[in-house]
C-alpha cells in the first residue's frame, strides 16, 4: 500500500490488466442445464428427501400385492373392526423375533361393539415370504408369495380392519395403486389444456383471446352438478369401476382447465409486454418459442404450486363424486373409497383406525409440496 505525499492512495499490487477475478468452475460450463438444476435441487434437503420418498412410493406400486399381507377384498369375517395389532419382539422377557398375539372377537351387546381379546400366552411368529391370497404382480404376473403374512390361524392387522374385516394396511397399499395414478391423469389433462389455451389467449390476445375467453366463461357457467348426474346415468353399466373413474377424472380435467387458463392468460397478458419478450420477437422467435422459453418459465412457480395443490383434490375428488354416485366404488380400492367408508361418527370415535388413509394422503401431498418447492427453488435464478 502506497501513500503518495499529496495524501493520495495508490495500490501497489502488481497490475495485470488481463487478470480475471472470478473463475467459474469448468464443469459448470460444460454441464447441460438440467444438471445445474439438479445440483441446485440437491441442496434443498427436504425436496430431495420428498422426491426420493415419492419415487419409492411409485416404485412400490407394482409390488403392492407382495408387500401387503392380505389382498384388498379378503374378509376375515370373525374380525370385524379389529383394532391395530402391534408387532412384538419379546415374549415374557425372551426374544422371539417379530410375532403377534392372536386376537379373538366377542360381540358386546351392551355397547354394540366388537371386543377383541388378545391371547397373550401364545406368541405366533409372523411368517415371511409366505403364501397367501393370490394377486398379480405389476398387474400381470400371478403370484401368491407375500413379504409377510399372518401366522397360521391368526390375523395380522397392522392398522386394524374395517367393517367387513378387511385389512386396512393392505387396502392402503392397494389403494395407492389407484390413488396415486388415475387422479394424476385429470391433473395432466387440465394442465395441458389450461396452459395451452391460457397461453394462447394471453399471448396472442385479440380475437383468439376473445374466443377462448368465451369458451372459458361458458364452461365455467355450465353447472357441473347436473352434468355429473346426467353422466352417472349415461355411463354404460358394464364398465368396471376403474374405467368409469378414469373417464370421470379425464372429464374432471376437461372441466377444470379454465381456472388455470385464466391465471395463465392474465399473467401472460402482462408478461408479453416485457422488454425481453419484445426482444425475442424481434429476433424472430416463433410464438411457440416465446411462450415456451420466455413466458412459461416466468410463470413456473405458480404452475408448480398449482399442480401440487391439485393432487389432494384429485385424490379426494372421488369422495365428493361418490356423493353423486360417480366415485370409485368397490371392489376397486382407493384411499378415497376407504375414507368414504369412514365418513361417520363411529369411525372417528370408536374405530379411528378406519380413518388412517388420511395419513398417507397427507404425507404424499406434503411430499409433493416439498418436491415442488425444491423444484421451484432450483429454477429460481435469484436463489443461485
Amino acid at each position: 500500500m502506497t501513500h503518495l505525499p499529496d495524501g493520495r492512495y495508490v495500490d501497489d499490487a502488481p497490475y495485470d490488466p488481463q487478470a480475471s477475478i472470478q473463475q467459474l468452475e469448468r464443469r459448470d460450463l460444460d454441464a447441460p442445464n438440467w444438471i445445474l438444476i439438479w445440483r441446485k435441487f440437491k441442496t434443498h434437503k427436504l425436496g430431495l428427501i420428498s422426491g426420493i420418498f415419492l419415487l419409492l412410493c411409485y416404485l412400490m406400486l407394482p409390488f403392492a400385492g407382495f408387500l401387503s399381507p392380505y389382498t384388498p377384498n379378503e374378509r376375515q369375517s370373525d374380525h370385524l373392526y379389529a383394532p391395530p395389532q402391534s408387532v412384538q419382539w419379546f415374549h415374557e422377557g425372551e426374544f422371539v423375533g417379530p410375532f403377534i398375539y392372536p386376537i379373538t372377537a366377542e360381540a358386546d351387546l351392551e355397547t354394540f361393539q366388537w371386543k377383541f381379546v388378545p391371547d397373550t400366552d401364545t406368541p405366533l411368529p409372523i411368517r415371511f415370504f409366505c403364501e397367501a391370497g393370490e394377486y398379480n404382480l405389476a398387474g400381470l404376473i400371478p403370484s401368491d408369495t407375500h413379504l409377510f403374512c399372518a401366522p397360521e390361524g391368526a390375523t395380522l392387522f397392522l392398522w386394524g380392519s374395517d367393517r367387513l374385516g378387511r385389512d386396512v394396511f393392505s387396502r392402503i397399499m392397494y389403494g395407492a395403486q389407484l390413488s396415486l395414478t388415475v387422479g394424476l391423469i385429470g391433473i395432466s389433462v387440465s394442465f395441458f389444456l389450461g396452459i395451452i389455451l391460457g397461453s394462447m389467449a394471453g399471448y396472442f390476445g385479440g380475437k383468439l383471446d376473445w374466443f377462448i375467453n368465451r369458451i372459458i366463461e361458458i364452461l365455467r357457467s355450465l353447472p357441473e352438478l347436473p352434468l355429473w348426474l346426467a353422466l352417472s346415468a349415461a355411463v354404460p353399466s358394464n364398465w368396471g369401476p376403474v374405467s368409469v373413474f378414469f373417464i370421470i377424472s379425464v372429464i374432471l380435467g376437461i372441466l377444470d382447465w379454465p381456472g388455470l387458463a385464466r391465471a395463465v392468460r392474465a399473467k401472460f397478458l402482462s408478461l408479453r409486454e416485457e422488454e425481453y419478450v419484445r426482444a425475442a420477437e424481434m429476433m424472430g422467435a416463433s410464438s411457440g418459442r416465446v411462450i415456451r422459453k420466455h413466458l412459461l418459465p416466468n410463470f413456473m412457480s405458480h404452475l408448480i404450486a398449482s399442480a401440487t395443490l391439485s393432487i389432494p383434490a384429485m385424490i379426494l375428488g372421488e369422495t365428493a363424486l361418490s356423493f353423486l354416485g360417480l366415485g370409485l366404488r368397490a371392489p376397486a380400492v382407493s384411499w378415497g373409497v376407504m375414507l368414504n367408508d369412514a365418513q361417520n361418527l363411529a369411525s372417528i370415535e370408536i374405530y379411528p383406525w378406519t380413518a388412517i388413509p388420511m395419513l398417507p394422503i397427507i404425507v404424499i401431498v406434503l411430499a409433493f409440496n416439498f418436491l415442488g418447492d425444491g423444484l421451484r427453488d432450483s429454477l429460481d435464478p435469484y436463489q443461485q
Binding site: 354394540f112 352417472s232 365418513q343 361417520n344
Partner: protein, 613 residues
C-alpha cells in the same frame, strides 16, 4: 262410558280466559275418543312440555301428519282397523261404505267438520276440471268405475261401487292417506266457483301463481302440512310458516281424543322439528339433542348412540323394521337384453343366485346378527308368516348353486372362472343401487365374493334413486337393489296387489306393471305362468267375500314368491335404533318401525307420549 270431567290445558288457558278460544268442553266433539291408557299398559300422563325431533329435508315436516296419525280410520296396535276421526263406519260387501262423523267435531280453526267437507272435496276438488285434470285418484276406481258418493246428512257420507273395492278403508288408514275431505270453509275463499273474483285475482297476483287453481292447490296441503293457516284434525297444528330450520307444532285445541282423567290429548304441548343434514342426525342425537328419533338413524349408528347415552340423557332402543326385506335384489325380468332376460327368467338361475348369498355373514357384518336372514316374505307378525317361505333357497349352499347353474346350461366358463352366457358373454350381473345406503354396498361386497365362487361376477353400480327408477322402468337395468315389500305384516284385509305384477315399482317386472297400470297401453303383458297366476289370485282376493278365501289367496301368492324368488331377499327384521330421551314416557320398548302400515311412530300414538320432569 261418559266423558270424564274435562281439564283445560295450561297451554291454551290464557286464550280461553281472554275469550279468544272456547273452553275445552265446547271444543271437543260430543263423543270424543276416550283413551284407556292403563288398559293398554300405558301411564296416564300430564300435559305440557316440548318434544324435540329432527328430520332431514325441509319437506319432511309432513312427518307430523304421519306421526300424528289422525285418520278417518286407523290401525290399532293389533293392526285392526278402527274408527278414529269417524264415529263409526259400515261396510257392506266391500261395495258400500257408510262413514259416520262425530257430532260437534271441529277443525283446528273451530269450524265444524261435517259431510260438507267431504262433499267439497268430491265435487269441487277432485272432480273439478281445473284442479284435478286427471280426476279422482286411482283407489276410488274399481275397474275404471267411479263410486256413487252421497251425503245424506251432515254426519254421514256414503261411498258405493257396483263391484267390491276391498281396499277402500285400508287406503284411508295409510301413512299418507288420501284426504277425501277438505276444510271447505277455509278453502272456499280460494275456489273460483265460490270466492269473490276480484279478491281472488288479487290473491293470485300476491302469491305469484298463475291461476286460482294453482293458488287453491297451494293452500290445500293437508299432507304437506306447510300451510299454517290450513285447518287440520291432527293432534298438533303447524305454528310456523315459511322455510325454516325449526318448525314448531302446537297442540290442536280441537283434537278429538281425551284420556280417562279428562285431559285432552296430545299430552305434549309443542313439537319442535328441526331440519338437519342427514349425516348429522346421529351426531346430534348422540349429543342428546333429540327427544325422540328414528328417522335418519341407521343400525351402524348404534354403537356411537350407545356410547353417548350417559352424557346425552337418552336411551337407544332397538325396534324392528317392518319391511319384508331389508335388502333385496330384483333381477329385471323385463331387461331389454334378450339373452340376459332369458337367463334371469330361468328360476334356477335366480335360485342359484339366492343360494350363493351368505346371509349369515352379512347379518353378522351389518347387523350384529340381530336381523333375520332369509328370503323375502312376510314377517312373523303377519298371520301368513311361514318359516319355510323364509328359508326357501336361503341357505348358503354354493354347491347346490353351482349345480343349478350348470343345470340351467351355463356350464362354460372363461379363464377367470366366470360362467359364460349362451352367446359367450361372461356372466356379469350388474346390480344398480340408489347409492344411498352404505349397508347395501357392504352387503353386495360380500355377495360379490360368494357369487364369484359360483362363477358369477357381480358389478355394483350406485346411481341416484330417480335415475335408478327411470332406468329400471325403461328396461335398461339388469338388476337392482331396494327394500323388500313395504308392508311386511299384511293381514287378510290387506290387498296383495303388491305381490302381483300390477305396478312397475316392483323392480323385477316394470313392464308388466306398466301394462297393468295403463290397462295395456304401455308395457308388456306378463308371459310367465307364475306371474299370471299371481294376477289371478289377486282377482280372487278382490272378489272374495270371506277372510278365509282371502287368506288362501295370500298364502298361495306368498308361496309363489318364495318359490320363484322374483325378489331375492337377504334379511328382514333388521333392528332400527330409536333414540328416546329419558324424560319421555309411554314410548314402547319394543315395537315395529314400519311406514305401512304403521306410519312409523303413528301407530304407537305419539299423542299419548308425555314428558315427565
Amino acid at each position: 262410558g261418559g266423558i270424564p270431567p274435562l281439564q283445560e290445558s295450561t297451554f291454551w288457558q290464557a286464550e280461553v280466559d281472554a275469550g279468544d278460544l272456547p273452553p275445552v268442553q265446547e271444543r271437543i266433539p260430543d263423543q270424543p275418543i276416550i283413551v284407556d291408557l292403563e288398559a293398554r299398559g300405558r301411564e296416564l300422563g300430564t300435559p305440557g312440555g316440548t318434544l324435540n325431533t329432527m328430520v332431514t329435508r325441509s319437506k319432511d315436516i309432513r312427518q307430523m301428519v304421519v306421526y300424528g296419525y289422525a285418520r278417518l280410520v286407523i290401525y290399532d296396535e293389533n293392526y285392526q282397523l278402527v274408527p278414529d276421526l269417524l264415529a263409526s263406519f259400515e261396510n257392506e260387501d266391500n261395495k258400500t261404505f257408510t262413514l259416520r262423523l262425530r257430532e260437534g267435531h271441529k277443525w283446528s280453526d273451530g269450524s265444524p267438520f261435517t259431510s260438507a267437507d267431504f262433499e267439497y272435496w268430491w265435487k269441487d276438488v277432485t272432480n273439478h276440471e281445473m284442479l284435478r285434470p286427471s280426476g279422482p285418484p286411482d283407489f276410488l276406481r274399481v275397474g275404471g268405475e267411479l263410486p256413487e258418493v252421497s251425503f245424506p246428512d251432515p254426519l254421514t257420507v256414503v261411498y258405493s261401487w257396483s263391484k267390491p273395492n276391498p281396499n277402500f278403508l285400508q287406503s284411508l288408514a295409510q301413512a299418507r292417506p288420501p284426504f277425501i275431505y277438505r276444510p271447505s270453509e277455509f278453502l272456499k275463499q280460494y275456489h273460483g266457483d265460490y270466492a269473490d273474483p276480484a279478491q281472488l285475482a288479487e290473491e293470485v297476483e300476491d302469491t305469484r301463481v298463475k291461476s286460482w287453481a294453482a293458488l287453491h292447490n297451494k293452500r290445500d296441503n293437508m299432507y304437506k302440512f306447510d300451510n299454517h293457516e290450513l285447518p287440520t284434525l291432527q293432534p298438533w297444528i303447524n305454528a310456523s310458516s315459511g322455510k325454516k330450520i325449526r318448525h314448531n307444532f302446537v297442540r290442536n285445541p280441537y283434537y278429538h281424543r281425551v284420556d280417562t282423567n279428562g285431559v285432552q290429548l296430545p299430552y305434549i304441548d309443542i313439537v319442535q322439528m328441526e331440519i338437519v343434514a342427514p349425516g348429522l342426525v346421529a351426531a346430534k342425537s348422540n349429543a342428546g339433542q333429540s327427544d325422540l328419533q328414528g328417522r335418519g338413524l341407521d343400525f351402524r349408528d348404534v354403537s356411537i348412540l350407545k356410547k353417548g347415552e350417559a352424557d346425552g340423557d337418552y336411551k337407544t332402543r332397538l325396534w324392528q323394521t317392518g319391511v319384508a326385506s331389508q335388502i333385496a335384489i330384483y333381477p329385471n325380468l323385463n331387461f331389454a337384453d334378450d339373452v340376459w332376460r332369458e337367463v334371469l327368467r330361468d328360476v334356477r338361475v335366480r335360485r342359484a343366485l339366492s343360494l350363493g348369498i351368505d346371509r349369515d355373514t352379512i347379518n353378522k357384518a351389518l347387523y350384529f346378527k340381530l336381523a333375520k336372514p332369509g328370503s323375502m316374505t312376510v314377517l312373523p307378525t303377519s298371520p301368513f308368516f311361514e318359516q319355510e317361505n323364509r328359508d326357501a333357497w336361503a341357505a348358503y349352499d354354493p354347491k347346490a348353486a353351482d349345480a343349478l347353474l350348470d343345470e340351467a346350461g351355463l356350464t362354460k366358463r372363461n379363464a377367470n372362472g366366470i360362467r359364460l352366457l349362451p352367446d359367450g358373454r361372461p356372466m356379469e350381473v350388474v346390480i344398480e343401487t340408489a347409492g344411498e345406503r352404505q349397508e347395501v354396498e357392504n352387503a353386495l361386497q360380500i355377495v360379490t365374493d360368494t357369487w364369484r365362487d359360483i362363477g358369477v361376477k357381480l358389478v355394483m353400480r350406485p346411481l341416484d334413486r330417480d335415475i335408478l327408477r327411470n332406468r329400471v322402468y325403461s328396461g335398461n337395468s339388469m338388476a337392482s337393489v331396494w327394500f323388500g315389500w313395504d308392508n311386511g305384516i299384511p293381514q287378510s284385509y290387506t290387498s296383495p296387489g303388491y305381490l302381483a305384477p300390477t305396478d312397475q315399482v316392483f323392480l323385477a317386472w316394470p313392464k308388466w306393471g306398466q301394462h297393468f297400470q295403463t290397462n295395456g297401453a304401455a308395457g308388456e303383458a306378463p308371459d310367465v305362468p307364475e306371474a299370471q297366476r299371481l294376477l289371478e289370485l289377486l282377482k280372487i282376493w278382490e272378489n272374495a267375500t270371506t277372510d278365509a278365501e282371502r287368506e288362501t289367496a295370500w298364502r298361495e301368492m306368498l308361496a309363489i314368491h318364495a318359490d320363484q324368488l322374483f325378489g331375492i331377499g337377504m334379511l328382514a327384521e333388521a333392528p332400527q335404533p330409536i333414540v328416546v330421551s329419558s324424560r319421555m314416557r309411554n314410548v314402547p320398548q319394543k315395537a315395529l318401525w314400519a311406514w305401512e302400515p304403521g306410519a312409523h311412530f303413528g301407530i304407537h300414538r305419539p299423542d299419548e307420549f308425555f314428558v315427565a320432569d
